[in-house]
């Protein structure tokens, strides 16, 4: 286990380093942030002064070296626009995105799993056909279009839900979140569903495939021959066995939920990371873009590690490898 952990950490460091190199050099290829920061009609001396202030007059490799030295001590540079540390800005915005992604994930499981299991248990019924057809739609409909449609129907036409933004937040057990207030929930529900739709379809497909595979196995037949009821077989024999692949896939997908929340956040003007980074890209706010990308990479690395741990925790064949009684 120790060897495994050390190996993983070393790999992660290498990945992070390579990633920072790629991100840094790419960002430096596009545009000149000074044009965005200074009034183009300013005196050349003024422009040069700003350039010097941000260290943009130096060659790229020196800039990178400085950035790397700062990164070692947790300083990813200051935002050109806000003048505050990029990392602080990201951490400030992160709870809103985390809240959105977590809600979407929970919706995906709550909605997708029962539908998928139902479709797997009754593969030839009408219900299964409708569910599977729906899941194809869920995968193919573009998120942004669906978001706009939801706003038109539920906010503009029916007036049930607020159009955009994040609602009131409340503090519960030290967590500041909008899910603890009614207003917050009303704001959250549409973007969360919008973001969840793709994942619901993924969960349905995974669950159905898992059910069809596991139900054909001998131990299910043996469980029936032992006189166990159908509910019991589904609950304690089928479910745990199909959950292993679903949970491992979803844990990785959680990373994509956070990374791709950008589209949903833009549509619903959700004040999360996605909006921050889109604005940063438009304004050529390099430190924010770099910090965001490295943040996402770290997130994926951590999630991957968690997946491995969950996998071992769920499956005794992995957990108890080698120590036969």
């Amino acid at each position: 286990m120790l060897t495994f952990a050390i190996k993983r950490i070393m790999q992660s460091v290498v990945v992070l380093f390579v990633m920072s190199l790629i991100v840094f050099s790419m960002v430096n290829l596009i545009g000149d942030p000074v044009d965005m920061l200074v009034n183009p009609e300013s005196l050349p001396e003024e422009i040069d002064r700003v350039r010097q202030d941000f260290g943009l007059d130096q060659p790229v490799h020196i800039q990178y070296w400085k950035f790397l030295a700062g990164a070692m001590s947790g300083d990813l540079g200051n935002s050109f626009i806000f003048g505050r540390p990029a990392l602080t800005l990201i951490i400030e915005r992160f709870p809103a995105t985390l809240e959105l992604a977590t809600s979407a994930l929970i919706i995906a499981i709550i909605v997708g799993l029962p539908l998928g299991i139902y479709a797997g248990l009754n593969p030839d019924g009408w219900g299964a056909r409708i569910i599977m057809g729906g899941s194809v739609l869920g995968i193919s409909i573009p998120t942004f279009w669906l978001g706009l449609m939801m706003i038109i129907v539920f906010s503009v036409l029916l007036g049930w839900l607020p159009v955009s933004g994040r609602g009131e937040t409340a503090n519960f057990l030290g967590i500041e979140s909008s899910i603890f207030t009614l207003d917050g929930l009303r704001h959250l529900i549409m973007p969360a569903f919008n973001l969840a739709l793709f994942k619901i379809s993924v969960v349905i497909r995974l669950a159905r495939a898992g059910v069809e595979e596991v139900m054909a196995l001998d131990f299910i037949k043996f469980a029936r021959a032992r006189g166990l009821s159908s509910q019991r077989i589904v609950r304690s024999h089928l479910l745990p066995n199909i959950l292993i692949p679903i949970i491992t896939v979803l844990a990785i997908e959680f990373g994509t939920l956070i990374a791709f929340a950008t589209v949903t956040e833009s549509v619903f003007a959700w004040p999360g990371l996605g909006k921050l980074v889109i604005d940063a890209i438009v304004n050529l706010d390099r430190p924010i873009v770099v910090a965001y990308l490295l943040f996402v990479v770290t997130l994926f690395l951590v999630l991957n590690l968690i997946v491995d741990i969950i996998y071992a925790a769920l499956d005794p064949r992995v957990r108890l490898q080698g120590d036969d009684l």
Partner: protein
């Protein structure tokens, strides 16, 4: 307990499977009876419908299968008239079931304790401490040591035989009156098989249970059953006392089925094939080695010794670790030495995990050799794949694998499969000649030339094994390694394949390394035999000596277990 005159009575059972327009009868007009305390064997080859009867009794036939006609009277109650809820009170409560493969009959994510407890909860309505005690009792009664500690273990922590014991404990959890065992020992080694059969016998006697054993193995039937029903093509062709049926069968099919079982006692020239099924023996065309393509360049074998193996060693890494004390290796092959004379059939016998297949793979160069040398016709081929001589030596060695389903590429036509070695070694001058040779080979292994354009999935297990043999022959081998070539096949098919191998060996003067766990088959096929156990060879002897006067204790043990 009420004493039922008949525990189970099945009258005129028909089960059909319909797909589209077609309806196939898996079971046709079957009638059997079973008394308490009696063991009834149902024997037949795959596809005979034996398992369907077992599934029909507890109403677990997979769709599209359906019971069409007949009644199943269990303790004077017609099981067909029960609804799903009432059936739940029969399954596990009154009728227990044991399946073939203990690797897959248990939920891998639940401890065996939890699986036992849930069964006891449902069938006996016992909970908490009482249920626990009952579970521990059950484990003890099926011969599991330290049952309390093992309650917390997961299925993968048990060996195959132990797992089958757990499965039996689960089947007994509801104190059933009838046990249906569907091929309960097929996935197990000979010595484990004997233990499990003894256990079933003892339980049957002690609890006065009726037992139905479904198997393809006549040896198992003769060991355990009181009465036997022989099935062929969905129908029971003969039923009666086991001694009577085995010694003087009436029906033609039973006769040929019993005759096809390789005997451990008498060595015969050829296996009796089940002519009843295939309708008359085909006369095989013999090839004249001097003129045939297969015979070309075959005669230049000067060396007397075809394979010689010295101090062969192979270790597999089970667990990697930074520190040596945490690492664990499996020493699969330990100091194995033997030599095989040209034209000889050498047998390797042993239980699963004894390292016999690993030896074959090491000789064939499919695995790296850790220590030791392998010589083919006096040419050292140890971990050496370069040089003309070595390539030629390796080409002369071909392998036939156990599983005819996974050893053929499903996306290649039979023609391409057989032609591949010819094209690779460029042993034919033109494409037309390649076609001609493939046609000839297929004809020779008894498949007929129209097999060429087909794909592997269109063939049965036995036919696929014939394709494997044709493919092996296509590189004009002098040595054939057969790794359990017939253990996935029915007895009748096995007889055909073994006869084919014998004929080929006679014609082409092949040297054969024949690997099997099946002693009677080894007895019939081999000139000399090596007995392997835990990676080392216990004994090498001529077949006659080994079967009549084994030296090593382990060989004696194996020979003793061999079904009569």
């Amino acid at each position: 307990m009420i004493n039922w005159a008949k525990l189970l009575e099945i009258n005129g059972l028909d089960v059909s499977f319909s797909s589209g327009q077609e309806t196939i009868y898996a079971v046709r007009d079957v009638s059997i009876t079973l008394n308490p305390g009696e063991v009834l064997g149902i024997v037949g080859e795959s596809g005979a419908g034996k398992s369907t009867i077992g599934n029909a009794i507890i109403n677990l036939i997979e769709p599209p299968g359906k019971i069409i006609n007949g009644e199943i009277l269990f303790q004077d109650q017609n099981l067909r008239s029960l609804n799903d809820q009432e059936m739940l009170n029969i399954r596990g409560h009154k009728i227990g079931m044991i399946f073939q493969d203990p690797q897959t009959s248990l939920n891998p994510l639940m401890t065996i304790g939890a699986q036992l407890l849930e069964t006891i909860n449902t069938t006996k309505k016992l909970f908490g401490k009482e249920a626990r005690e009952k579970a521990i009792d059950l484990l003890q009664s099926v011969g599991i040591e330290q049952p309390e500690a093992r309650m917390k273990a997961y299925p993968h922590q048990f060996s195959g035989g132990m797992r089958q014991r757990v499965v039996i404990a689960l089947a007994l959890a509801g104190d059933p009156d009838l046990i249906i065992a569907d091929e309960p020992t097929t996935a197990l080694d000979v010595s484990t098989q004997a233990q499990i059969l003894d256990l079933i016998k003892a339980i049957c006697r002690k609890r006065k249970l009726g037992v139905i054993i479904i198997t393809h193995d006549i040896g198992v039937i003769s060991n355990i059953a009181h009465r036997v029903a022989v099935m062929f093509n969905g129908a029971v062709v003969e039923t009666g006392d086991v001694k009577k049926i085995l010694s003087s069968p009436d029906h033609e099919y039973t006769k040929s089925l019993i005759a096809a079982v390789p005997s451990g006692k008498v060595k015969v020239e050829r296996f009796t094939s089940i002519d009843y099924i295939e309708g008359g023996a085909k006369t095989q065309k013999r090839i004249d080695v001097k003129e045939h393509w297969l015979g070309e360049k075959l005669v230049d074998t000067k060396s007397e010794i075809a394979i010689s193996v010295e101090d062969l060693n192979k270790e597999f890494v089970l667990k990697k670790a930074m520190f040596k004390r945490n690492r664990s290796n499996l020493h699969a092959v330990k100091d194995v030495s033997f030599s095989i004379k040209t034209g000889e059939t050498f047998g390797l016998v042993g239980e699963s995990g004894s390292g016999k297949s690993t030896v074959a793979r090491l000789i064939a160069g499919l695995l790296r050799i850790d220590k030791g040398t392998v010589k083919l016709f006096d040419i050292d081929v140890t971990n050496n794949f370069k040089g003309m001589e070595v390539t030629a030596a390796q080409r002369s060695l071909q392998m036939i694998f156990q599983d005819p389903f996974s050893s053929l590429n499903a996306r290649m036509s039979v023609e391409d499969i057989v032609a591949e070695p010819i094209r690779f070694y460029k042993t034919a001058s033109s494409n037309r000649q390649v076609k001609q040779i493939v046609r000839d080979l297929l004809d020779h292994v008894g498949l007929g030339t129209n097999a060429m354009i087909k794909y592997p999935h269109e063939f049965s297990g036995g036919q696929r094994q014939r394709i494997s043999i044709a493919r092996a022959l296509a590189s004009r081998p002098k040595i054939l390694i057969c790794d359990e070539p017939t253990s996935a096949l029915d007895v009748s098919v096995q007889a055909h394949i073994l006869n084919l191998l014998k004929d080929l060996q006679d014609e082409l003067n092949l040297t054969m390394l024949f690997i099997s766990h099946d002693l009677p088959v080894i007895h019939q096929m081999c000139d000399r035999v090596a007995v392997m156990r835990q990676g080392s060879i216990c004994e090498i002897a001529t077949t006659n000596d080994l079967f009549n006067a084994p030296n090593h204790t382990y060989s004696k043990h194996l020979i003793k277990l061999m079904p009569a």
